[in-house]
């Protein structure tokens, strides 16, 4: 029993319990904002989880991962715009499109290494971003409003915010579980071996390219599903969903939470997105007695605080927040 009672596991358990209770709290207090915020957090945590599979476990630093949010989202938006509202049609198409795109990008980019890989994944993401900007029929730069969320058969009703939140939450937990199973399977060990020493992997007889490619496709597909959820959540899709800064945010979540750890991306996503909300308020609180009304202006620059915090984690906690929590145990 005591083997499970570690600081990290306690934090993860509390976090999961909290996430499971958000709708309850929201209903009791009537705080709809909290619900909206955490739906977004849960969805982006899923995207970060998928990125962790290739970045953390596979050592494939994709700098264009948000593109799958865009592809999944746009598939929903475009189909809805064309009058196809059924989730049974929308979702498979969205997920299939993400998988296909990942297959194409992966097949080309996985032939390169290091900086070139980063640049090629970024280039493909930018390509799709500008393609989205050029889609006049679907709102171009301004994006596209979803007139309604994906339609499923009764009793599934995504327009019910509580039901939608729990749907996202279950899918998040499922993707974390799936990732955990994958990375400890034969397939996962090949992926991790290729991260550690690809040359040796080939020398002992693994055709690593095809394993890495399949891993890349799994991650892209999972992130595409997150994009489907995000589009349904905001009822709006725009090129901004797949802007490169969003890809950067996903990397920050993974690194902040802890690369190649089961719950790292979840911890990272919650930390980053909650700080995004809390830091401006905190700055305002602290600064008001000192500089008066200028504190409101100061609060806009919350990233000045966020940046150094991230830097500290990168410099002093190599395993991210997860690694920090794990190391607490040894003391």
């Amino acid at each position: 029993m005591s083997a499970w009672f570690t600081p990290r596991n306690v934090v993860v358990a509390v976090l999961l319990a909290f996430l499971a209770l958000v709708p309850v709290y929201s209903a009791l207090t009537g705080n709809a904002f909290l619900m909206t915020l955490f739906t977004r957090i849960v969805i982006l945590a899923m995207a970060a989880t998928s990125l962790n599979l290739i970045l953390g476990y596979g050592g494939m630093v994709s700098f264009g991962h948000a593109v799958y949010l865009g592809i999944g989202g746009y598939a929903i938006g475009i189909l809805a715009h064309e009058g196809i509202g059924s989730g049974f049609v929308q979702w498979p198409i969205a997920i299939g499109a993400s998988a296909l795109f990942a297959l194409g990008v992966g097949a080309l980019s996985l032939r390169t290494r290091g900086l070139y890989f980063i640049m090629i994944t970024l280039a493909f993401a930018q390509l799709v971003y500008y393609f989205g900007v050029g889609l006049d029929r679907y709102g171009a730069d301004d994006g596209l409003q979803l007139y309604r969320r994906s339609q499923f058969a009764d009793p599934i009703n995504l327009s019910n915010r509580t039901q939608f939140y729990y749907g996202c939450f279950v899918l998040l937990v499922a993707s974390i579980y799936l990732t955990w199973r994958i990375v400890n399977s034969r397939f996962g060990l090949v992926i991790q071996g290729a991260r550690s020493n690809d040359r040796r992997m080939q020398a002992i007889g693994f055709p690593t390219y095809r394993y890495r490619l399949i891993c890349f496709v799994i991650a892209g597909t999972m992130c595409g599903l997150a994009g489907v959820l995000l589009a349904n959540h905001t009822e709006f899709v725009s090129p901004a969903m797949m802007h490169w800064t969003r890809s950067g945010d996903l990397i920050v979540m993974v690194v902040l939470g802890g690369m190649a750890s089961t719950f790292g991306p979840l911890i990272g996503a919650v930390t980053l997105l909650v700080l995004e909300e809390v830091l401006p308020v905190l700055i305002k609180l602290v600064a008001t007695p000192i500089v008066g009304s200028a504190a409101t202006r100061a609060a806009e620059y919350w990233q000045i605080v966020m940046g150094p915090l991230f830097l500290l984690v990168v410099l002093f906690a190599r395993g991210g927040i997860n690694g920090l929590l794990v190391s607490l145990r040894r003391d």
């Binding site: 994958i182 400890n184 399977s185 397939f187 060990l189 071996g193 040359r199 040796r200 007889g205 055709p207």
Partner: protein
């Protein structure tokens, strides 16, 4: 003479103006331990690279077990039973010793598109890996992270990785590199034991090891094989003494 297990014919590789392999001919008979020696820069590592498929030759042919493998990919050669060890230790440093060897076992037990079951609980992978670790003298070190093992242990693990692929032939690239006197003695004993089961091509600088183990020796200088024969012949060969052994005596 029986048919050679490894047959190298006219292998040539140029890097700019340097000819690293200059029409290398070499045949390794089944069951033989064939050592390749030569001064630094003689082209031994380039030769290994071409045999494993990491370097594409400009000309020539490599045959293994009756098959032309000249253009085969690195992993495919391993699958056919040609295994190589690395001169500079090349392991999975963030894995345990057992995970390292189990991965080598896994590479040769079907494809790895299994996404669900915990590979670390598969006896079919762990048991052979444990046995291989015991064989190279690393019993009891299974759960140690490779990054916290000594250099000598890394060299032992290198051999375990190669053996775990259940090869027909070993390409050993300086297995003695950096070993202390005691560790060298143990490594020679290990290689002597392997020699009775496997065909081995040994690239090595340690002359004591080479003359203690080799059935045949080939001497490379400037990318060419200048002599090939039994250890006694090589020792007596005037050209070799001048090009290589003489240098050592003079040191």
């Amino acid at each position: 003479m029986t048919e050679a297990l490894l047959q190298i014919e006219g292998l040539t590789k140029r890097f700019g103006g340097v000819t690293a392999s200059d029409g290398v001919d070499l045949a390794v008979q089944p069951g033989e331990l064939h050592a390749v020696i030569g001064p630094n820069g003689a082209g031994k590592t380039t030769l290994i690279g071409q045999l494993t498929g990491e370097i594409a030759p400009d000309a020539g042919r490599v045959g293994f077990a009756g098959e032309d493998i000249t253009t085969l990919a690195v992993h495919a050669r391993s699958q056919r039973g040609l295994a190589r060890s690395f001169q500079i230790t090349s392991l999975f440093s963030d894995f345990t010793a057992l995970d390292n060897v189990a991965l080598a076992v896994q590479a040769h037990s079907g494809h790895s598109f299994h996404f669900w079951h915990d590979a670390r609980s598969e006896a079919a992978l762990r048991q052979p890996a444990r046995e291989t670790l015991a064989r190279v003298g690393l019993a009891g070190r299974e759960q140690i992270l490779v990054s916290s093992m000594s250099h000598g242990e890394h060299r032992q693990l290198e051999i375990a990785m190669v053996l775990a692929t259940r090869p027909r032939m070993l390409l050993l690239d300086e297995p003695m590199a950096g070993l202390g006197p005691e560790e060298s003695v143990r490594m020679i004993a290990l290689l002597r034991a392997l020699k009775s089961e496997l065909t081995i091509l040994l690239v090595e600088h340690d002359m004591d090891a080479v003359f203690a183990l080799a059935d045949r020796i080939s001497v490379m200088v400037y990318g060419r094989v200048i002599a090939s024969g039994a250890p006694a012949e090589i020792r007596a060969n005037a050209e070799v003494r001048k090009a290589y052994l003489g240098e050592q005596d003079g040191q």
